[in-house]
Symmetry: D2
Subunit: 352 residues, 4 copies
């Protein structure tokens, strides 16, 4: 299969370009009888919408989703669920100056090399806007998982090099960065303001936590749950590193430190991040992703055009300073899609 | 598909348990006309064999591969290539004490939860021994890639917390850890000796480098080359983190630092690690994996048995102190499998 | 994968219910650079539209397709092509009497058994209307194949038990049944008129011919081209038998009769129907499908309701008397999808 | 995926050439806990072995299967089941005269066109011998289905143009043709003897019956159970036509005749052959396949060599006169593989 579908049983297919007619998602394999309404999906899309603060863009992005099939009288029917989000405010002409030039850090060059043709308007299919369709599809997965008691939450643990020190769950709702440390959140906002003033952008780290996930999910030896999570999270455009559990730190532990010992009460630590031998343990699944800075900076940059001639480019328009916090619902969506798929798989194969 | 196959066009299926009759690999989709002999595969298997030094196991593992199909008169025919490695020296009785108990850090608990039955002999399918079949399959992929000028090399950049400082390519062949820094290699060996003396184990970090890879490989938006690499590398049992290019460090850069500017001569830096927007740029692909310590330590550990009763266990037998360097050919194999698959995919879809 | 996608490289996903908001098709894997416009797709859809004669329905079905993504400046970009056909004239209330009863020969009973819930309006996803999305997707495949000189044509060779005697290509355009025998076409129309008068329906046989197909397509041993064609054609709701080449007659020949001998000029006969050992020979591909009568008849029928109670039902509304000729573009579409997929596959694997 | 695997959840991969080292099957996705022994598989293989009568070959084919993985203490573990059948009696030199010539009706020409290289020894991968691996894999599927009360039986209903008149179940065990009509069986044997005397071969028709299959299996709109059955049966080398239920006859019925009316007792007829709208009804599944004559005839035939030069060839060796009855277990195996796959799929998606 080409690359615009993911999953084996709970399958999401997405389509659409940043400045085309619309974006869309088709979910095939959602079990019948799940209560599902526009609201379930719209709420997730709204979380992805641009904020008002220093990290957000000033573009207007009103993503209104429609359900075109697969739901009847408020419940899924087992047939494909088609979701569509019409694009608005597509000022394609704004992008004409990009038709023949490759923006550093963007997919302009690689799409051209791969396809020999590209829709340069706003990045086309390579735009971060494409993730709206993932969030829409992920919302259906989240609803399915919620019915099984599985809850997925992502939050910011580092931004512009500023890491969290404490963790206060209540803080997550209080700041737009979804940061569990109020002090750190303030410093992050200052860093964002400062970067914006410099015409620059920042990166950060997001942690994903899954609670309530039963043990036994994951398909060794290749479709291990950690493998699938890593692949799905690295498949978000901005992500350059993925860790599970202790992650990189595990490489610096001794076996006597990293092994999670068990007692009758369960696992005593969770260095494994909820996954051993590629299968869920029943403990919380913990993953972290490192997001690079947004490549669209308001400074002149050296690059080349399609003929290979050197060009200096300054990316126009108003862009986000950081993908955080907009990437958070995307991380949750990708995680939900992975788990929904494995949940159904385990139903198929488990011992009777 | 269940989880024992990987790839869409160049597909590897593996089978076999640590202490069963044999391990095997079936490669479907290898193009016809490729020169392939036992030697191509045996050499890779030998690289995975236990060393003689402090990091190695003292078990005898003579992996002799046979080619059972798909090759005729020294060339692949386009039909499935079946490889088999007979298991020897399976002292299954040695493992009887594990039939009802879960070793910390091993797949014993999760396999039981998933399947409700397990082959406890030496970890069964969850054993690291399973990777021999991956290395065998990966050897075919490497041969295919070599014909296209694509070369994959992995090496040790950290072990037991000791990182490399310099990089001397010549050193790679000189020390059994495949470490490009002679001084660091010595310290790593000392750390291994020390850990062995303590009955403990160590982790480390491996870097994978791919040179000669053409631009244009990768299938957005889900089967991006970085997504596929991350999933495949995280699918190695010991791996807990995967980075591409600047990896975690990218999250701490500014956009003006992380963007790889271009000139007529090509990319001037490679923070992207050879992948932008999920598609190869033509620059070297760079990935790093963090490996946890081997969970089999020679010390008593708290755990539970199948009924949930607390047990103290000491894992018997002689085990490796670190997966490095044996994991190195496995990392190369997984990388080769990903690239071979995407190489064929690009042939199918590219503009004529 | 669930069942609403087909293909491995040229992949069609369809969605939508008969009386929902819309029907749609997503094509993933179409190579970039193919000239494609609304007209290419609309023409095929129009061929599927209800005719004016005795075999046609009197419902108004104006299928207007929109291209929502994947095409830029008149050419495909290699990204997913999303097609949508809005439903009009959905008088769902007309179907309320069917909510709790199973129409004989329809999917009402089996959908209920499978999903435990169903969208009963006009058959929902089980409606023949779903094939509009296949025709739309197939139109893209046909365009791709046409560029390679591959031409697919289907025509009526039997209807209501009346078979053709002669074959005059010119006749195909002259009668609405796409029947190559003018005399037979007349008798078929009489049979249709007679069946309509009786409130009954008729079945028929369609032959599909593919010219210009290169040798070498097909993936033994399971994805043989004949296997894939048979599966795809049998997957059309109305089809109950599929033949390739001599088909059933081959079972009554001797080996000396059925073998197609070869000379320097090529194959001297084509009992194989263009496929030997699952791979195209380069001769015309010939397949035939037997279509059952439409189950919606204007006569009272015995059936049961959801509780299993006996009910007599008379299906309301005006329905077609025969799926012919409307099924013809559907047969062509399914054939085109199979061939486009195998064409790309052969590009991937062929010897260099 | 290339073509040597089939299924989505219960997946069979086969490998091996007629005159290579061995044939093999890997089954991935078989649920854990199924009792499985060599005997289950060997019995099916023995049914495929050459008979002693007029239809059988005089080659010695002792197919002894080994289980190499996936079974522990007599039960499946949920990991891949690897089966191997060593080839014996491979007199490859016997086939040297075929290295440069294309036998009519065989895959020699098409394999060469596809792969540009071929293992000509005994047909290589295109040999009917490949079906031994399917039968081995199918035996596992049959065992799984048997535990659910699903029974698959195939039998001969026509051979050399001689059809059955009556149906006596007891007769199936009495004649080696698995023909339920004793009189017809006698005439069929006479026809076989006569064809053999003429150096010719015969075709026939096999019917497959599945009882005990629950309603609700099948994945619209493309992976309908009838579509999957048709594809899988047409994927047997000898098959040129597949019918479900009334098959071709359905095209000659009126809707009032072909619709299977329902009463409280269930379906009153079974023209549908157990499948409506691509989903099982719970009635017996009925399929028929038409098998062409074996192409290896003991008569001179016109053909060409690799350079396209005309050649007259007489195929050497002793071959079967008809694929019946050896094809019967192959038909059952393919049917079992389809049903096992759909059974698991329905477990995954069904409404809770």
């Amino acid at each position: 299969m080409p690359g615009n579908s993911r999953g084996k049983l709970f399958v999401l297919t997405t389509w659409g370009e940043s400045h085309g007619e619309a974006l869309g998602a088709v979910i095939d394999g959602c079990p019948p009888g799940l209560e599902l309404g526009i609201k379930d999906i719209q709420e997730e899309l709204d979380r992805r919408s641009p904020g008002k603060g220093a990290g957000g863009t000033s573009r207007v992005e009103e993503d209104q989703v429609e359900i075109l099939s697969g739901v009847f009288e408020g419940k899924t029917t087992g047939t494909p669920i088609s979701l569509i989000i019409r694009n608005k405010d597509q000022k394609s002409a704004d992008y004409d100056y990009l038709a023949d030039v490759y923006r550093p850090g963007h997919g302009d060059f690689t799409y051209d090399r791969k396809y020999g043709i590209r829709d340069h308007r706003g990045g086309g299919r390579a735009s971060g806007r494409e993730t709206a369709a993932r969030v829409a599809g992920g919302a259906v997965a989240k609803k399915l998982l919620l019915g099984e008691g599985i809850i997925i939450r992502a939050f910011t643990i580092e931004l512009g090099g500023i890491g969290i020190v404490g963790f206060d769950e209540a803080a997550l709702e209080e700041n737009r960065l979804c940061c569990p440390d109020r002090e750190a959140a303030k410093k992050m906002e200052e860093a964002l303001a400062s970067a914006r003033a410099e015409g620059d952008t920042l990166g950060g780290v997001v942690e994903i936590n899954v609670s309530g996930c039963p043990s036994g999910l994951g398909e060794p030896v290749f479709d291990r749950i950690d493998a699938d999570l890593a692949g799905s999270l690295m498949g978000i455009g901005t992500v350059k590193a993925v860790e599970i559990g202790a992650g990189l730190m595990a490489a610096r532990m001794k076996g006597s430190e990293s092994n999670d010992s068990m007692g009758p009460e369960g696992f005593r630590t969770n260095n494994a991040g909820g996954v051993i031998a590629g299968i869920t343990t029943g403990a919380d699944i913990v993953a972290r992703v490192a997001c690079k800075p947004i490549p669209s900076i308001a400074r002149p940059q050296d690059t080349v055009d399609r003929r290979g001639e050197p060009v200096t480019i300054t990316v126009k328009g108003r862009h986000d300073v950081c993908v955080i916090p907009r990437i958070i619902p995307v991380c949750e969506a990708m995680t939900a899609l992975v788990l929904a798929d494995h949940l159904l798989m385990q139903r198929a194969i488990k011992r009777r």
